[in-house]
């Protein structure tokens, strides 16, 4: 009885905190056994990469693909050369920049149009009813199907490539911002209403922040879509870019150029998705901590 009274007294003190979590940094002190070394994650990474390169090398040397497979080392050498030598007037950096620039312009244009439109559709049922049927016609159309018409409209220069990227990234951008906002728990709006906020506050305080993660998921999908599109456009007609390198390699039967081009696309696409992830972390600090839980 007495200690219950005391607890209540204790709780009665204003300013008392229930912060009782103590965190300590400790070292994992498991003994170093052979089993632990062999099953070490990083060691396994290195082993699998080495095995992959060896198999690749062997396959190339044995002439399994009718000589149309360069060894890893040949690829590296070829691209080391391209860092200073030029291909169609550009070094490898020039080609990377050409593709990245197209992606960047198309991506920014598409997201600047699609995200607000998606949010607007989710907020306003009339806008939704008007835009949706037209959007639904274009939605299932693969963006690459637009290449011919875009060349007819815009020629083989930059605008046609950017157009393809815009078409390809527009759909996932719009769908994600639209769904992201529609899936918001309606009671969250009640919070704002009860606290005395109006419709505008509901949009600013709930709609935007709550749909941010979905918008970023859309941007990630858009980005990989953008790389597919830029590549397709460059394969069809181009004088620069990573797609051009691959086509060039094919035309002159230089497999190290083709394979190297593929690898560089993978690396650049990966780096650009890291950039989006970094931007998301910066803009959504509340998500930063979830990953660490």
């Amino acid at each position: 009885m007495a200690d219950i009274q005391e607890t209540i007294q204790d709780l009665g003190r204003q300013g008392s905190s229930i912060a009782d979590e103590i965190q300590q940094t400790v070292r994992d002190k498991k003994p170093l056994t052979i089993r632990r070394i062999v099953t070490n994650e990083y060691l396994l990474h290195v082993l699998s990469m080495t095995a992959f390169l060896l198999v690749w090398h062997q396959a190339a040397v044995s002439g399994l693909f009718a000589g149309a497979l360069a060894t890893p080392w040949q690829v590296v050498e070829r691209f080391q050369g391209l860092m200073t030598d030029t291909l169609a007037g550009l070094t490898i950096w020039g080609h990377i920049w050409a593709s990245t620039q197209r992606i960047f312009i198309g991506f920014v244009l598409a997201s600047a149009l699609a995200i607000p439109l998606g949010l607007f559709m989710a907020l306003n049922p009339y806008v939704d009813a008007i835009v949706k049927p037209v959007f639904d016609i274009f939605k299932p159309m693969p963006p690459i199907a637009w290449i011919s018409i875009s060349i007819l409209w815009f020629g083989i220069g930059e605008p046609s490539k950017i157009f393809i990227i815009v078409i390809g990234t527009f759909v996932p951008c719009l769908l994600n911002s639209y769904n992201g906002m529609r899936l918001i728990e309606p009671e969250l709006y009640d919070v704002v209403k009860v606290l005395g906020g109006g419709r505008w506050n509901e949009i600013i305080q709930v709609s935007f922040p709550a749909s941010f993660p979905a918008i970023f998921a859309g941007l990630q999908i858009s980005l990989s879509m953008a790389w597919t599109c830029v590549l397709a456009a460059e394969l069809v007609a181009s004088r620069s870019g990573l797609g051009f390198i691959i086509v060039q390699g094919m035309k002159i039967s230089d497999t190290s150029l083709v394979i190297g081009g593929m690898i560089i696309i993978a690396i650049v696409a990966w780096l650009s998705s890291l950039l989006i992830a970094g931007l998301e972390k910066y803009l959504c600090p509340w998500k930063r901590d979830i990953a660490g839980l």
Binding site: I4, Q5, I8, L11, G12, Q14, G15, S16, S17, I18, A19, E185, E187, L188, D190, V191, V192, K193, V194, L195, G196, G197, N201, Q205, V206, P209, A210, F212, C284, W286, D289, I290, L293
Partner: protein, 252 residues
């Protein structure tokens, strides 16, 4: 003395899928006195949450009226604070951001609203957690934020909708004690909805029971004349518990 809240003959039905009519509340009339802790006790599906949402102004009744301080209520407003069953914290805001939301929406300047929010964060025992995000908190702590958020807007009436329904038994008991402590340190008119008979007797000055199954109807009103702090094992506590259980279908 005029009642703080006065509900007259409230009837509510929802239209489902365009044609099905669901009758939720039937002829509810109740008065809540100033600074009173009134508990609405009813089983699941008795329309008690709907009643609270009507008083909060989030739903409009099909018949009847609600007055706050003699004024007809029309829509939600900062004079009534609502604590949600599923917390409804903003995951993108810190504890501080969540608690200062009400004053912020009502145009209180930054330093002042920080001061108000800090006061209520301290009151609910969360100091040291101001910069945490909701997902970093336990269920009980989340609801503390919910309570602080409602309090920080300085409402005349606090409406709590099964606030501890998602908590485990120990935390729930602890939070009930905390609710009494917070209420006693800053007395306000409280309307507390629950389906838990012990919670009702532990907290309420008065208990209004609703009949089970839709539509919800008024059943009985009990005065709880037990001194605080109350004990679950107190003889009078148990007698009242028995009395309420006998009178209702609520078997708990």
């Amino acid at each position: 003395m005029t009642p703080k809240i006065e509900c007259r003959n409230i009837t509510k039905f929802f239209i489902q899928k365009g044609k099905q009519r669901v009758h939720v509340l039937e002829d509810i009339s109740l008065e809540v006195r100033d600074k009173e802790f009134l508990v609405i006790l009813g089983p699941g599906q008795s329309g008690k949450s709907t009643l609270l949402r009507i008083i909060a102004g989030l739903e409009t009744p099909n018949e009847g009226s609600i007055k706050l301080d003699g004024q007809q209520i029309a829509g939600p407003g900062p004079d009534r604070g609502l604590v949600f069953q599923s917390y409804m914290l903003f995951g993108w805001k810190t504890v501080m951001g969540n608690v200062e939301l009400g004053p912020m929406l009502n145009g209180v300047d930054k330093s002042e609203r920080r001061r108000i929010a800090q006061r209520y964060i301290d009151l609910v025992g969360l100091n040291g957690f101001e910069k945490h995000y909701p997902h970093q908190l336990s269920g009980g702590m989340k609801q503390r934020v919910g309570i602080a958020r409602a309090y920080a807007n300085n409402p005349k009436v606090m409406l709590l909708d099964e606030p501890f329904g998602q908590l485990d038994a120990q935390t729930r008991y602890f939070m009930e004690k905390e609710t009494v402590r917070i209420w006693e340190s800053e007395k306000r008119t409280v309307l507390f909805v629950t389906n838990n008979i012990d919670e009702a007797i532990y907290l309420g000055d008065r208990i209004v029971t609703l009949k089970g199954k839709l539509p919800g109807r008024m059943h009985e009103v009990y005065d709880v004349e037990l001194p605080r702090p109350r004990e679950h094992t107190d003889m009078k506590f148990l007698q009242l518990r028995q009395q309420i259980t006998d009178a209702s279908e609520l078997v708990l």
